[in-house]
């Protein structure tokens, strides 16, 4: 496929771009294989044109077009050919609804141009082949390829915990992705369990996702594991290797919790389709807790409804809260946070190990294990640590980003596998940051950037569904890592929280409804001006910086300058 086949009209003059909260600008619209550009010429000749729009076409979620044929208003006795007049007078409006929830309008003179542009954007935004996507073409000057890809995050994490325990080992049973296609090549497993046992246990778990270590709680040596559901099926099949694997985690007399992210009813029903849950009789040391978390279609619909409600200008205060409730989004946030807190509580307070799984173990499971780590582990609350967490618990752990984030809230396309689990995770982290404003090193800005990049990105970090696919597509060899971009000093500063001060303790959030708030910075990002809040944020930066560096530095500078002053030095030497 050639991109040029999809571009019928490459440039159009005098296009009017408008966007909520900003003055409309006129300029030249240009479509390239991955971008939509609009540049304006602000004044007379010689002035450089300003780029007003630089939109990654992958970011477009929905294209709506409306054409007006204003040729009808032309006086019928005009001398030119009536057909030409009509075409010249016609125009069209394209509304672009983006995955990051921004909405743009383009008024394009000429009906044909308008239709061409719209169909090009539609075609280019729905290219499904990973290797045709922009990250494979993006070459920023400040970065070098193959740099900045986290080197073996699982291995690194293992090194970290190996200093504290010998109960666990790094296994390369999945070296060629044969045991579990959605796991990374290296996983952390109990030291006492052989590769063969792992292979057999994998056959008893959905998607081959046998229980692996997700988090080691250094304070008391308990662990959090995750897996897919056991394939007990209607005949209540058992698997001695799986039982042994889980048994080896607990000492004699110790008990652990299995947090199933489905309701007891759902878990039972799953037996009919070959799935199921761990029966008490086969896993006597484990107690099952069911915490149903929504995923899949209902979650995507919740997201769509909420975005609709936020955009509904006709909604008054009298009906807003009811509408907010009917979207259910905040209920999902509350449920996800509560479940993560439960897992954290089991580890930290009950001092018991935990296994988390739902059905596939790639969605709500990861939501819970990742969130629990942010709550428990101070290291995950730094910028670096949070990147590591995302890499380990979302990307390497096989959350199918390509499927889940193919479409956002505006798309008219038929829903397939889309579900905003990652957004739900980011929202929960935002709730934590609001309740503990000093405890996270990064700011809301990072969460927004992560969302944007998960849905449409210049970088390869969130491409594909799992490590196996990423290897096949040579993502690491041919794209840049988002982390490398974010770690550049000038970028990094944008995402820091000026109030951060390391907090070594567990941060237990409140999950009461009064404490759960709508993430306005995300859902209203493009709907209303955040000028006053931004000013407040700038003021916070100013206060903190003026207290941290300049005064201190100037004190020190002035002192050292004075001390190195020849007269003083002479005095000192004397």
């Amino acid at each position: 496929m050639e991109f040029s086949e999809l571009i019928k009209t490459a440039t159009v003059e005098s296009v009017l771009l408008s966007c909520a909260g900003q003055p409309a600008v006129k300029g030249t619209l240009c479509i390239t294989s991955h971008h939509l550009l609009l540049s304006s010429c602000p004044g007379g000749d010689g002035q450089p044109s300003a780029v007003e729009l630089w939109l990654l076409i992958r970011n477009v979620d929905a294209v709506e077009k409306r054409v007006q044929n204003v040729g009808w208003y032309q006086p019928p006795r005009s001398s030119g050919s009536p057909r030409d007049t009509r075409l010249a007078g016609s125009s069209g409006t394209i509304t672009l609804r983006c995955k990051d929830l921004k909405v743009l309008q383009l008024e394009i003179p000429g009906m044909e141009e308008c239709l061409n542009i719209a169909s090009s954007i539609e075609a280019l935004s729905s290219v499904d082949s990973v290797m045709m996507m922009y990250p494979f073409f993006h070459r920023p000057q400040s970065l070098r390829l193959e740099e900045g890809w986290p080197l073996l995050p699982v291995e690194q994490y293992f090194q970290q915990i190996a200093t504290q325990t010998t109960q666990w080992r790094l296994s390369d049973v999945n070296q060629d992705f044969a045991t579990c296609p959605t796991y990374p090549p290296a996983v952390i497993v109990p030291a006492a369990v052989s590769e063969e046992t792992l292979r057999r246990a994998a056959r008893f778990r959905q998607g081959g996702r046998f229980p692996v270590l997700s988090y080691y709680h250094a304070r008391n040596g308990t662990v959090m594991l995750r897996s897919g559901q056991p394939l007990t099926g209607p005949n209540r099949k058992r698997c001695p290797e799986d039982e042994m694997l889980l048994g080896s985690v607990l000492d004699e007399g110790e008990r652990g919790f299995i947090i199933d992210t489905r309701s007891a009813q759902m878990a039972k029903q799953a037996r009919m389709t070959g799935g199921g849950t761990e029966p008490k009789s086969s896993y006597p040391q484990w107690k099952r807790l069911h915490r149903p978390l929504e995923r899949g279609r209902p979650l995507q619909e919740s997201f769509i409804k909420l975005v609709e409600a936020c955009n509904d200008a006709s909604l008054g205060m009298d009906r807003w809260l009811g509408r907010l409730e009917s979207c259910r989004w905040l209920s999902h946030v509350k449920a996800a946070l509560s479940t993560a807190c439960l897992a954290a509580q089991c580890l930290d307070r009950e001092e018991s190990s935990v296994l988390v799984h739902g059905a596939e173990g790639t969605d709500t499971t990861l939501l819970v294990t990742a969130l629990a780590q942010v709550i428990l582990e101070p290291g995950c609350r730094t910028l670096k640590g949070f990147q590591g967490l995302l890499e380990r618990e979302w990307i390497q752990a096989g959350h199918p980003f390509h499927l889940r984030c193919a479409r956002s809230a505006y798309s008219h396309a038929r829903l397939k596998q889309e579900a905003p689990l990652f957004l739900l995770f980011l929202d929960c982290v935002w709730q934590l940051s609001r309740q503990f404003p000093f405890s996270l090193e990064f700011s809301e800005g990072l969460l927004l950037t992560l969302f944007d990049n998960a849905y449409a990105s210049d970088y390869g970090t969130f491409l594909c569904n799992n490590e196996k696919e990423r290897c096949l597509c040579k993502v690491k060899e041919s794209t840049h890592s988002l982390w490398a971009w974010l770690d550049q000093p000038e970028e990094r500063k944008k995402y820091l929280n000026p109030l951060y001060s390391p907090n070594p303790l567990v941060i237990w959030p409140s999950v009461e409804p009064q404490s759960i708030q709508l993430w306005q910075g995300f859902f209203f990002r493009w709907i209303r001006s955040s000028q006053y809040l931004d000013e407040a944020w700038a003021e916070i930066w100013r206060l903190v910086e003026s207290s941290n560096t300049p005064v201190k530095e100037s004190t020190e500078n002035r002192l050292s300058r004075s001390l190195s002053d020849p007269t003083t030095r002479m005095e000192n030497e004397r």
Binding site: E350, S515, Y532, L543
Partner: protein
Amino acid sequence: MEHIRMPKVENVRLLDRLSSRKAAVGTLYLTATHVIFVENGSETRKETWVLHSQISSIEKQATTATGCPLLIRCKNFQVIQLVIPQERDCHDVYISLIRLARPVKYEELYCFSFNPKLDKEEREKGWKLVDLNEEYNRMGIPNNYWQISDVNRDYGVCDSYPTEVYVPKSATAHIIVGSSKFRSRRRFPALSYYCKDNNASICRSSQPLSGFSARCLEDEQMLQAIRKANPGSDFIYVVDTRPKLNAMANRAAGKGYENEDNYSNIKFQFIGIENIHVMRNSLQKMLEVCEMKAPSMSDFLWGLENSGWLKHIKAIMDAGIFIAKVLIEKDWVSFGHKFNHRYGNLDGDPKEISPVIDQFIECVWQLMEQFPCAFEFNERFLIHIQHHIYSCQFGNFLCNSQKERRELKIQERTYSLWAHLWKNRADYLNPLYRPDHSQTRGTLHPQMAPCNFLYKFWSGMYNRFEKGLHPRQSVTDYLMAVKEETQQLEEELAVLGERLANLQKLQLNGNTVSKQQDRSKELVLSAFNNSLANTPQEYSNDLKSFPSRSPSQGDEEDSALILTQDNLKSSDPDLSANSDQESGVEDLSCRSPSGGGCLPSEDSGKDSDEAVCLAV
């Protein structure tokens, strides 16, 4: 004293609303002014103090096996659930409290016995902190168009207005008196706010007694005079804050609204703020939502919507309380807002009680949320004002009008809240406020449509005693500390600079300098040493059925906290109340860089009153 049937009850349990596991056992005391609960346990002796005047309702619930539950709801939205072992004791406490919470005479109110040990001069100074005339001077009045009128001296025209009233120069005494006779409770149109930039003004009055057709020449002249006082405009808006239906219904009672045909150049507008009865019910409903036990997200949001509270808040905001620094003193106290009737400080008609001032305070908070840099004060300031409107510890909010206040000699016999707040102003400052910031200049323009749903539930106020619900770290306090620290460093820098200059002159060696430098680094470190912790809530009930270690046993973090909690409890009204030992920590997060040097000094009236407690 004679009302206290039962001064002390032992083995009372104080329940925690968020967590049934955290009930505290202790002793309940009734004093002349407070209900006090002192927890057993030699280490902490956590105390909960509640002023009688804060109590809004007392409910005795059905006796259970564990005792007799008593539910005390307070006007500052604190809810206290006690379980008293003996039904008879509970009944005595109940009867005593019912009487104590509803004093019949002003003299029984706490402010008449409250003595913060200030001398006479200081007390008088406190009352002079906010001077109405100065407020008007600030607005540029009197001037060519507006003047003070003494028509109301001795409260001869309107007993709920102050003696000095600002009116248009062209309004003669005859017009004013005539107009007042045509207005409910004789509240004629008088100046509230004047904008010197464009001569525009806000006047206020009560409804006209127009009935279906009555008119009054003087009243028409009065409005004409107001219009002329702004030469730039050829009409005035008359804004009726009621829903139109209510105003029309009032016509049948001989009251009503201005007829546009009779008044030249007025434009008439209804805004539909519901009356006090609707508001009272709405607040009531919202508080019920706040009190729900373990509500789901849906329960909460539906309850909040059904209460209509935020809808009313929005209606009020829409109505145009835009003026950022509206001083409460001017707008509410001096102009005869019926404080006593509305706040139920004395026993009276419960139908006259309404949360209008709560709504005003909330509106200011909603503005603060939208304009974080625009207000010099912070959320705590609003919460403490609300607290003291009902505490009756200070004389400011007593009585219904200036006339009544003068008759009772409030200024001679009680203390002013403003002096108290001024004394502790450091606690109430907004660190983001800068006089030179763009947000502090001129009028604020809040976003109204179409994002009118940006009004938020104010859990800091309505759930202020559920510490577990709130952000665990206070940005305001942190930034204040940072600001203070910067200032200290700057001062130190100046001192050091000076010293260096001296050094160079005196040719001393540099040892002293390096010591100083170390000290400034320590300051920085201590500001960041904001250790904090909390405990998990009840995220699960299932865990109980699975016997194991109790979650909060032998936890270093928790026990370390208790010590620090002790420092705080006597000084903050929020904490002196029903604070949660473990999650109350957010207040520790960081007070001051020098470590505990400036704990928030606060009121709750208990510091002054140790003697009362012991005497009982």
